[in-house]
Structures are given as structure tokens and as C-alpha cells.
Symmetry: C2
Subunit: 611 residues, 2 copies
Amino acid sequence: MTISALQLERAKEANLPKLPKSLKGAVKIEEGKPTESAGDREEIRKLFPNTYGAPVVTFVESKDNQSFPPINVGVILSGGQAPGGHNVIAGLFKGLKTANTASKLYGFKMGPGGLLKGNNVLLEEATINQYINTGGFDIIGSDRTKLQEKAGHFERAKEVLNKLEISALVIIGGDDSNTNACVLAEYFKKNKLGIQVIGCPKTIDGDLKNEQIETSFGFDTACKVYSEVIGNIQRDCNSAKKYWHFIKLMGRSASHIALECALQTHPNYCIISEEVEKKNLTLDDIITTLKDLIIERNTLKEGDKDTPKNFGTVLIPEGLIEFIPAIKKLIEELNVVLAQNDAEFKKFVKKREQVSYIISKLSEENAKVYESLPESVARQLALDRDSHGNVQVSLIETEKLLADMVKAALKAEEEPLLQPLLEEKAKLDAKIKLYAEDKAKLQPLLEEKAELDAKIKPIKNKYNFSPQTHFFGYEGRCAAPSIYDANYCYALGYNASKLILAGKTGYMSSVRNTTAPVDEWIAGGIPITMMMNMENKPIKDKDGKLSVERVPVIQKALVKLDDAPFREFASKRKGWETEDDYVYPGPIQFWGPPEVCERPTITLQLEQKKH
Amino acid sequence: MTISALQLERAKEANLPKLPKSLKGAVKIEEGKPTESAGDREEIRKLFPNTYGAPVVTFVESKDNQSFPPINVGVILSGGQAPGGHNVIAGLFKGLKTANTASKLYGFKMGPGGLLKGNNVLLEEATINQYINTGGFDIIGSDRTKLQEKAGHFERAKEVLNKLEISALVIIGGDDSNTNACVLAEYFKKNKLGIQVIGCPKTIDGDLKNEQIETSFGFDTACKVYSEVIGNIQRDCNSAKKYWHFIKLMGRSASHIALECALQTHPNYCIISEEVEKKNLTLDDIITTLKDLIIERNTLKEGDKDTPKNFGTVLIPEGLIEFIPAIKKLIEELNVVLAQNDAEFKKFVKKREQVSYIISKLSEENAKVYESLPESVARQLALDRDSHGNVQVSLIETEKLLADMVKAALKAEEEPLLQPLLEEKAKLDAKIKLYAEDKAKLQPLLEEKAELDAKIKPIKNKYNFSPQTHFFGYEGRCAAPSIYDANYCYALGYNASKLILAGKTGYMSSVRNTTAPVDEWIAGGIPITMMMNMENKPIKDKDGKLSVERVPVIQKALVKLDDAPFREFASKRKGWETEDDYVYPGPIQFWGPPEVCERPTITLQLEQKKH
């Protein structure tokens, strides 16, 4: 294994993550009042009789000498990668070993699926030291298996954990995984199995946060990596002055990444899916807005230069298509229509026929939307379906789709100006052909043609729209954690060990006040039921019929249009459209001035300011 | 204008670039012997009677007090962006002002085109301070205008420069721009115009280097940015264990970037165009190699995990297609065929007919190659031509082309295994339909079908090949310069001022020994004629007929298969294919341990070692 110079240095003692003052030594636990769930209290209470209503707990420094018996703990990484996962495990390991060197930490390999298979590894200090401060989840891997009682997963997990004499399981995951952690905690407690379950908030998407959880880990690092390359592209944009860059950013369920990157880099335009939904915008609305901006910038000259601003940057959240209300409705109907008419649909071989068939089956409203889509998208939606029979919206290259549609819209603007000239030219060409041998008559015709060409050229090339498309996702999910994420994750893991030692279950590890210096961070635990409400989850049977199941979930945090980060963006964006206020944040720094190295995300700073 | 925290800090006194010891104070000039050109000495001497044979010069420290009269100097940025361009200008400015505070530096806006328009700005210290250590070329912009005597450019340049009383012009550019700088220097000298011309070696592609010029600026930074994101992708690859990433890297004329990134990150596979050409490989050869590697990795399990290695990374140089000898030949003929038969070709509207027409016009050998290309590429080559009528190879998304072709090749491997099973299944389906109402007979058939499906599934999904494609170019061209590039560029610019003050013309600014600490770098100048030879440049008339013009050029430095960097790569790559030795270099650092911050490229280190 070849270790990079940066990785070697980051693994050195002096560069290891810091702990908040409150976690450094012995702790005293402060318990709040009984809590209630975020919504649907009666239903949640009923579903979680053994874990509901537990208090928020906070750890404060203590001078007591504490001693703990050795325990075995298990840990799993669940779902998509996020920078800092290795530090959560390192913090957890350190916390357990500090309490009792005989305690053991087992990692289950390849996620919840590995837990069910009993595929485990005893984590030793040498391994931990190799992975601390590095990106990725490769220390034990991850997967997307969803732990479900119905599928017998809970019993299977119990067996595996009992065999290893594990008395606590830490699940590092997003909103779904933490919901599952809570359900599992309730199950273990109800059945008096003596196994605690603690969750840790992970996701680069930033959509696992609420009044109790400031942010999910990985969001800081991923946004900084994306902002670095967006900044570089903007500098290129502003130097070359000839490309429009359409940049799609990972994150299907919420637009926090796009919003944070916009706050960090000030692009000419940034689409926020939640705003599109709220304002009930159509795909055409979005295209028209972009087209108008391109036309407006084309009329602007740069200072004393005669270069029109035929360049710019547009940020696009990955989930956009599914947030456009008209398309969302269309997709819902498509999923049902395609499932119900699968056999008949498959008889059509030609793509055009398939598209026509689909249109014949859709409601008038949705058929209209479907027909308005570019051919490639219409086909994509008709053809590729996932293993559950759903259309695969995620396969649509939204960044290319928008660039292509904007290009077509700009062409449509040129058409009325261009058409008469092109007709004139066709007539002229015919004449030229006719007099090809008659030099005297030919000459003035050729001159006329040259004049006409000179008129056509600037119209045809008026907006000189040259798009470049990018999609950033894998570039940041596994980056080495920023100093913020490195410290935050280590604290989350260390803190998880304290929750275990305090006998807690059904809690999420919580570290707050993270815009302050690390020393002042506040550590504790939040009962997961406190973040829950009931939601109606659509369930599809094999005929594609939809029914609804009511399930407890941690509310997903979408971008709220009246929260500080969006308001800041909304108040600034008009200026960015035409004035160009590109910011070039540069690469994540691990040494140097704290203003550069230790800044949390702008989103978090703005959210904390309001308090 | 919003300035990022990093940019603010990098602009502070303590972080400004350092100068080599030899340039810090007064200098003495040491002149070598008369030089000869790299090749075709008689022809080059004849073309450059006034500048040929000048000596290599080196600046060494001097204790003499030197005084210089004030001078006016012009500077232009030419061609594609490269990190550090602003520092060249800052170094040049500082050098001129240090010699005489009354000297003036004019920047011509938007490149050589701006010089011809006389579009200039007097550069002041405040502006320089705003741009030092930043990426991009936006201080004055750049373009791709090629200065040509025939077009009257030289006379126009003279007028503009005379008007501003400019006695020296610094051209910051790649091999072409430096060739032009030399031709212009000869022109000014021949006509006794009293205007010196100095070149500076710029290009992220790394293909402007030779015995005298160690490296071109920007290569270091761009490769490090690309390697950062490649490393992140590899960590993701190794964590998620489910994607093959096909990563294309900018640089059409040479594969130095791909090679350097491979040396920095150890991907599973890296294509080097020059090797493809040398070994006379076909597109099919490349696809077969990749397919075989994917199949081989599919048979490997990871340690005690039961996960096959259905993941990996492939680096692809942007220029690959044009280096494949068979395709190169095809493109040459295509350009002629399409130009000669333009009118007839345009009569065909249907794409299929166009393709057939082209095949009918090509030589047998090229027709065969053309027919072997995927349909989308064949069409691309037939349809989109640039303003010179040439096919636009650069529009081919090579990374997607390779991923698609590999997918098809893997499918072809499955076919013989799958075909009999699918036939069996079709028969069974017919029987099931027949006995749909007869439960007794249906049951065993359904069981048989389930068994068959179980056999089909692992074959169909055997390689589970899931590609992701990326193209990195704009992400790195305008990054803020690394410490290496920041210092190198500042020294190149400062040194250019010393060459001007020493009365030199037709020289390239040269800073060598840059793998040593900055203090020990050796500054001087290389007569550009020394790097030149004659090349046959194909010229196409308007009928597409090719003729050949013999022109003096600086030899483009391609990757040489017997040079140290390629040999190092070749000796290691077999291990990377199956063993996974991914390196994660992380982001460029500006503060911290010198091993992290100040390392030059591995290419340069290996090249210097041999000395």
C-alpha cells in the first residue's frame, strides 16, 4: 500500500483530531426533561413504548474517578460514503479503550448486510491508526441493506451480536439508517436482549439535521471539494470568456449542497429544487429563465473590452427533475401505467411506437407534459426501469438536458430573424447556379451573397452559446475529512462511547455549538424518537397499484425558503447574475491560518447566527 | 468582488513567492558558446540570420551596483489558461520596477488579438497585488490568435508597440506561441525596430520541455488538482466496490498529464497515447485489454470478503483517438473526402445514407476501420466539422465511447453462455402460456422456469459492469498555483525582466534545477532557435487538397517510452491492475510540511534523477 505524503502527515500525533473539553476526561451526565416526538406524538409513543420520551442528555466535565467494566461493541457504516466515517470509528474506539482497555470493537463488513452475515473484524489500534483522518468507508465498507423486522433481520442481528457478546451497536448512517437504529433499539429493549443501539448522523447531502442535530458529517468536506472545483471552473470561465458551465451536484433529496456551494462560490445562477417545487415551476419555466439570463449577459460588455459576457456558471441539484411538480406527477402515473400494461407495452419494439403508446395511456395533463419533454428524456423515461419497475429519473443527465434545451430555446429566438434571410439566400443560390457560366451576371450575385452571409453570421452566432457540462459527486464523497469534519466525526464517535457507557439506547450521538472552537463544543445524546413523526409511504404491489403505509421516520430536512441560508442566497443572487462576483475558495487546507482551515460551512454559520 | 479567505491569506507578504538567490540582487550575466538548433541547422540558420546561434545565458549573483534607464515593456498571455500566469506577470513587474521605478508594464488584453487591436492596460502595483498567487488569466485575458507575418500582424504589432514606446514584448505561451515569439524577434531585429521579444514556457499539457527547459508552468498545479479528485474517486471506488470509473484528462497533443496523474494515484489502468501509437494498437486492442482486465478482476475476491473486484479506475488522455494509427489515417482521408465531395455529401439527409456514402468514398482499409466504429462515433465524424472543414475529433466523448464499447464486449462474452439458456426459456414460456389454465401441468413448468432464471441471472450479471465517466480539464486549468508553480512562475517573469535588461531577444526565460530548494534554482535564458527544427505542416486548400509547408517549430515534447517517467510507470502498472495500490494525494496544500507543500511533479523528479 502506498501512502501519500499528505496522508502520512495527517496521521501524525500532532494532527490527530481534538476532543471538546467536556469529553476529554471523566464526564457527568446531565439529563433534561422527558421529550416528545417532532409530530404525531400518540402514534410514535405507541410504536416506541420502551424508548419514547427519554430525555436529552449532555455530558459535562467531572472530577469523579469513573471505572467501567469491559464491553464488546459493534459498529456498521450504512449507505453512501461521507468524509469522516473513519474518524467516527476512531473516536468510538478511543472512547471505549479509554474507559477500559479490555473493551473490544467489532466492525461489521460491508454495512448492515455484513451484520446479517456475521461478517466481522475485530478492530485493533494499528488498523485505526492507518485510517484516522482519511476519507472513504473502506476500513470496513458499507452497503444499502435496510434492516427490517419483517424480513427477520432483527432476530438475525441478535444472534450475530450475541455470539460476539456485543452489548451495543453503533449505526453510522443517514435519516433512514437512524430511523432503523431507533426501531432496532426499541425491539432489543422490548425483548430485554441487553443490546443498546446508538446512531450517528452521516450524509454529505446535509438533509439529516434538525433542532437537535446541527449538521450531518461529510457535508462540510464534500461541499468544500465541490466548491474548490466550481471556483476553478469559474476562474476559467472568467478567463476564457467563452463557455457556459452547467454543473450538476450530487444530492437527490435536498438541495443543501447546491445552496452551500452557491454561497461559497457565487455562481451566475443556482437552481434550488425546493424553490422550484414551492413555486410550482415547470421545466419550461426554468429553461426560459436561463435563456433570458444568457441573452441578458450577451448584451453586457466587460468594462472597456468589446467582449460580450457569453459565459457563465449554473449550479444544478441532482434531484431537480423529481422536484418539478408537473414531472413528479407524470412520473407517478408513468410508474403505474407501465407496471399495469407491461405485457402490452413490451409488444412495441420501435421507440416511437412505445412513446405513442405511453401517451395514449396517460391522463391528458400528464400526456401533455410527457410530449413536451425532449425526445431523449421521453425515451429514457419509457425504457429504462429499475428492478422495482420504477422509471429511473436518476439516469437523466439533467445538466446536459438543461444545456440542450437552453440551446434549442436560444435557437428559437434566432429563428424569426434568420428565416427571411435564409429564404433570400436559397433564392440567390438558385440564381447563382443558373448563371454559373456567365461571369458578368455572376459577379454581382456573388457580392450580394457575401453581403447576405455577413448579415446572417452575427444572427446565427448571436449568443455564441457554448455549454460545458459537469457532474460532481464521486469527487467529494470520499475526500479526506476537512479539519471540521475530522474533529466533528471523532467527537461524534467518542461521544457515542460515552452514551453506551451511560447505558443509553435509541439515542443519536450529538455534538453541538460547532461554530465555536472545538474546546467549547457541547456533547450529548438526543433520543431518536424526539426527531420522529409519521409519514405516509407509498407501497407498490406487483401490479403497480399504490397503497400507503404509515411509518415512523426522522423528518428529512429540505432547504427551507424562510431559513437564513436560503434568504442570504436569495438576497444576493440577482447581483451574481450579471455582475459576476465569482469566489474562488481553493482547496481544503489542513495547516495554516484558522480562517482558512477551520471555517464551518456558510450554511451552518448562518443557521447558528439566528440563535 | 468577494475574495475568498484562502486568496486573502495567499496575498499576504509572508506568502508571496520567493526568488532564487541568483536573482535577488544585482546579476552578472554568463554567456556560453554559440548554439545550434535542435535539428535542420542550415535551414533554421537561414530563417533566423539575426537571432540564430546566440549563447545560453545564466545569471549569477553580482556585487556590482547596476543602474538601468526606465523602459516600457508589453506582456501578453497566449492560448489556454495555466495556473501561475498571473505570477509570471507579477514577477516581470517586480523585476522591471526594481531596476527602475519609472519603467512601465503594459498588458495587452485578450491575448495576441488584443495586441493587434492595441487593447492595452497599464499595469499598476495595486492590480498586480490583487492577482498575485491566484489562478486564471483574467488579469488581462488571453486568446488563440496566431501572430503571422503574412497576415500583416507583425507590422500592426510594431505600430502598436511603437505608439506606447514599448521596447520589449514578453509572450507567455506554449510551443506555438514561443515559436511565434522567435519569428517576431527575428523580424524586429532584421528591421532594426529596437523591440526585443522574450518567451515564457506555459502549458498544463507539459509538452513544452527539452534539454534546456525543465517544465512548462501550470503542469504541476493542474496534475495535482486532477490527482486530488482521481484519488477521491479511487477511495470511493474502493469503498463502494461497484463502479468502474473512466476518467478522461485534458491534453490532446501529449499524455504527460495522464502519466503524471497515474504516477501520483496508481490507477488500475492508464492509457498512454504515445504507447498506443508506437505499438500500432487499434481501438479494438484497447477495448480487449480493458475487457480482459475487468474479467480478471471479477475473478478476484477481496481478502476474506466475498465481494468480487467489480470496480476500478481507468485514466484516458484526451488525445487518444488521434493517436490510434488506424483512426489517424482514417481521419486524414475523411478530411479530404468530405471537403472534395461536400456538395454531393450534403444531398444526403438521412444519417444512415450519409454514412454509406462516406464508406463508398473511402479506401478499402479506411472504410473497414470506419465501419468498425460505434454508430455514434461514425456519425459524429461524418457530421460535425469545424470552420476549417475538419472532422471534430475533440467532440468525441472518448471516456463514454470506451465505457460503451467495453460494455458491449463484456456482453459479447456472456452471449455464448446465455444464448442456449434464453432459447430454452423461450420454449418454456410458450409451454407455460399453453398450459396457463392447467394448474397441475403448470406447477412443474413454473418450477423449471425458476431454476432456469436462477441459472441465467449470474451469467447475465456476471461482470456487473457499472461504469461512471468523468472528464477533468476546466477543473484544473485555472486553479490557484501550487507553491511550486507560484515560485516557478514568479522566477520566470522576474528572470524575463533580467533578459530584457541584458538586451536579449529571441530568448525563452529559463529557470532550472527546480527540484532543489528555490534558493538554488538557476536562472537564465535559452535562445529559442536552439529548440527548433523544421517540420512538415500539412496545409489544406479550399478543395481539401493537402500540400505540405516546411516550417520552423519548437519540437513538441511527447511522452517518450524510454524516458524515466514512462519506465517507472511501465515497471509498476502490472501490480496496480489487480493488487489495488490506490494513492490518495489529497488537495494542494499551501502551508504545512514541505514534503506535502513543495514537492514537484513525479515526472520532473524522475527526469532530474537521471542527471
